[in-house]
């Protein structure tokens, strides 16, 4: 298994413009009070990653409860909204509408620091021996820059988008993508699923579905948050990345490995190429409890030391955002 570190220096505000994010959070709060006012949802009996039945309370956020798996330390929401409630949320949510309609998704900062490295990653990871037809699928597509970039790849014969957000449909048709709402078995050579794994009600079944949809040696590439990361471990409920009810699974490194291997995948790469852990802690230094040692690094050490520290986190897969590349065995 390989791991990748990315040396790219930028600030949180470059990828999360604060004005728009504040509005997004405000609308989410409104959604929650309108849509999730009564029922509790379903209690989850076992860790969605490793199936361990024992867990402890981790934190509450916006009246949603998160547990930490006693075995693999994956953090997950339980109880969680039923699939019906989630459907209602995604169809009625004002926050989602605001987020998806906003062009700030595609700002130059996000293009450069979020999407460009991801597109390079796809390009560098796909490898085909023979010249037979190759099918690509982006699972729950939501990012314009990814679709536009993939449309330029000449490796793929067919390109599908599974259940994209409606706002993406014009780009998809322009870029030669077919839109689908079911996956053919043993059909795809490459499937990508970016920033969706933390949202699945049952990530284990999704992983099985994707496994079945891949041809032999087909590749699955995902990105998601990681509970093993430094920023998440100290920010917990205060993390602006954790937005209930959207984020129900925050996988630990150990948990995600177990989940993918149990389904039959071989993990080729697992990386946490995040650049922001230390900067996020610095931005919230007055709102959170930090050990003196970390406070000292953040407040008193120079930029070089902080960069080295962030690189150390990446090397140890200890940053808060993960990428995984897996092959169907």
């Amino acid at each position: 298994m390989k791991t990748r570190i990315v040396r790219d220096d930028f600030r949180e505000a470059e990828i999360r413009p604060s004005k728009e994010f504040s509005e997004y959070y405000r609308l989410i709060q409104e959604d929650i009070s309108e849509i999730f006012h009564s029922e509790a949802g379903n209690y989850i009996e076992e860790c969605p990653a490793c199936k361990c039945k024992s867990a402890r309370f981790y934190f509450n956020k916006n009246n949603f409860t998160y547990l930490e798996c006693s075995d693999c330390s994956t953090v997950y929401m339980s109880p969680r909204p039923t699939i019906g409630m989630l459907h209602e949320f995604y169809s009625r949510s004002k926050a989602m509408e605001y987020w998806n309609s906003k062009t700030f998704q595609d700002t130059s900062g996000r293009k450069k620091h979020v999407f460009a490295p991801r597109i390079r990653w796809i390009g560098e990871s796909i490898e085909f021996d023979e010249k037979s037809s190759k099918n690509y699928c982006d699972f729950y597509s939501k990012y314009n820059p990814i679709i536009e970039a993939i449309s330029e790849f000449n490796e793929f014969t067919n390109k599908d988008s599974y259940k994209p957000i409606p706002e993406l449909i014009p780009t998809l048709s322009k870029s030669g993508f077919r839109i689908s709402d079911n996956l053919k078995a043993s059909y795809y050579s490459v499937i990508t699923a970016f920033e969706v794994y933390d949202r699945f009600y049952d990530p284990n079944s999704v992983t099985k579905l994707l496994y079945d949809s891949l041809e032999e040696n087909g590749l699955l590439m995902i990105s998601s948050m990681s509970s093993s990361g430094l920023d998440f471990q100290f920010m917990k409920s205060k993390s602006s990345n954790i937005i209930p009810p959207l984020h129900m699974n925050i996988f630990s490194i150990e948990g995600i490995v177990k989940m993918f291997e149990n389904v039959g995948f071989e993990i080729l790469e697992l990386s946490t190429p995040g650049s922001l852990d230390l900067k996020i802690l610095e931005n919230h230094i007055n709102d959170i409890e930090l050990p003196r040692f970390l406070r000292d690094i953040i407040l008193n050490r120079d930029e070089q030391i902080k960069e080295n520290f962030q690189e150390f986190l990446q090397r140890g897969r200890l940053s808060s955002h993960l990428r995984l590349l897996a092959r169907k065995k």
Binding site: K2, V6, R7, D8, G123
Partner: protein, 342 residues
């Protein structure tokens, strides 16, 4: 189909090959030839004369002998109808390898593969794939360094004996880096070089420096050393649109550093603040399956009658030709060699 193997030369490497054959369930090792090895497996035919081994009912032989035996053992094995996997170097010099090639041509149905395992290291395969995808543009130049520190018994080893080893560090270790340069560049037509014994009291070179050029005006600077007190494996490949740096190598000793591949893209003039210091990615590889890939390739080639791609006799001749040019382009070295022979 389970293959029946014989192993000629059962030192560290021969034993490793046996372990891999068994782990991958490629077949059974039925015979071993080694002057020093004592019988431990009752069902294995043991001899100190490899000609006896070649009379056994086996499909393929692994040759892991000192360099002075390699070429004749390969030729004898082919002539007795066995498929052959031989460790590098494929011989002590170019002439020996050309003899092997002639012999191999007489046995088109027998597979012959040489152990250039560096091509099957993860960092190399990843770099090769990216280079082939053309995402980096045109390869312009490379800087390559591969070196080790020798060892306390360096002087006494067979590797340091002229008539056994045939060459020094260039042939022993540099050959791998040159093989990789050929992998990325296709080959080189012009060579300028210095070869010398700078520190060790041995009759062979302990350092070789070369500048290589090919007809596409691509350049490589190469250094092979056994006075590299801190072990190094580093290959910098610079393309029109970016660069890749292979640094460190996952070996048994771990002394070459954690195997990694750095990937960077050329920055453009509108990104002034990053000019000369672009953002880059580094991939770390935590295991080495190269030996396993090699044995698998060899076994697949035999069973499915597929040609040998990595480590073919042609690539062995290519790399030995390059080594020959590096030795012969240094007039002082040639003079010293000629005087030594008198």
């Amino acid at each position: 189909m389970a293959l029946r193997f014989g192993i000629i030369g059962f030192g560290k490497i021969g034993q490793l090959r046996k372990k891999i054959i068994e782990e991958l369930e490629l077949g059974k090792v039925l015979a071993i030839s080694d002057p020093n090895y004592k019988q431990t497996h009752k069902d294995i035919f043991l001899t100190n004369n490899y000609h006896e081994l070649l009379k056994q009912d086996i499909d393929a032989v692994i040759i892991a002998t000192p360099n002075n035996i390699t070429a004749t053992a390969v030729i004898d094995a082919l002539n007795s109808g066995k498929h052959v996997f031989s460790e590098k170097p494929p011989g002590r010099n170019l002439e020996e390898v050309i003899e092997i090639k002639k012999c191999s041509a007489k046995h088109p149905n027998l597979k012959l593969k040489f152990g250039f395992n560096h091509r099957a290291h993860y960092s190399v395969m990843e770099a090769k794939r990216i280079a082939s995808s053309n995402r980096m543009g045109k390869l312009m130049w490379a800087r390559a360094a591969y070196g080790k520190a020798g060892s306390l018994d360096f002087k006494e080893q067979w590797r340091s004996t002229k008539n056994i080893a045939g060459g020094g560090i260039l042939l022993d270790q540099g050959i791998h880096m040159l093989d990789l340069l050929i992998l990325f560049f296709g080959g080189f037509s012009e060579v300028k070089s210095f070869v010398d014994t700078t520190y060790w009291d041995i009759p062979l070179e302990d350092n070789a420096f070369a500048i290589l050029k090919n007809s596409s005006d691509q350049y490589a600077v190469f250094h092979s050393s056994s006075t590299q007190w801190k072990h190094i494996f580093r290959l910098e490949l610079f393309f029109s649109e970016g660069y890749m740096i292979l640094n460190g190598l996952d070996t048994g000793s771990k002394s070459y550093g954690r195997e990694s591949l750095i990937i960077g893209k050329r920055q453009f003039e509108d990104e002034v603040e990053l000019l000369g210091n672009p953002s880059e990615e580094q991939i770390f590889f935590d295991d080495d399956r190269s030996w396993y890939f090699e044995m698998n390739d060899f076994s697949n080639a035999i069973i499915n009658d597929k040609p040998i791609i990595k480590g073919s006799v042609d690539s062995a001749v290519d790399v030995m030709q390059l080594i020959d040019k590096i030795y012969s382009s240094d007039n002082s070295w040639v003079k010293r060699e000629n005087e030594g022979e008198k």
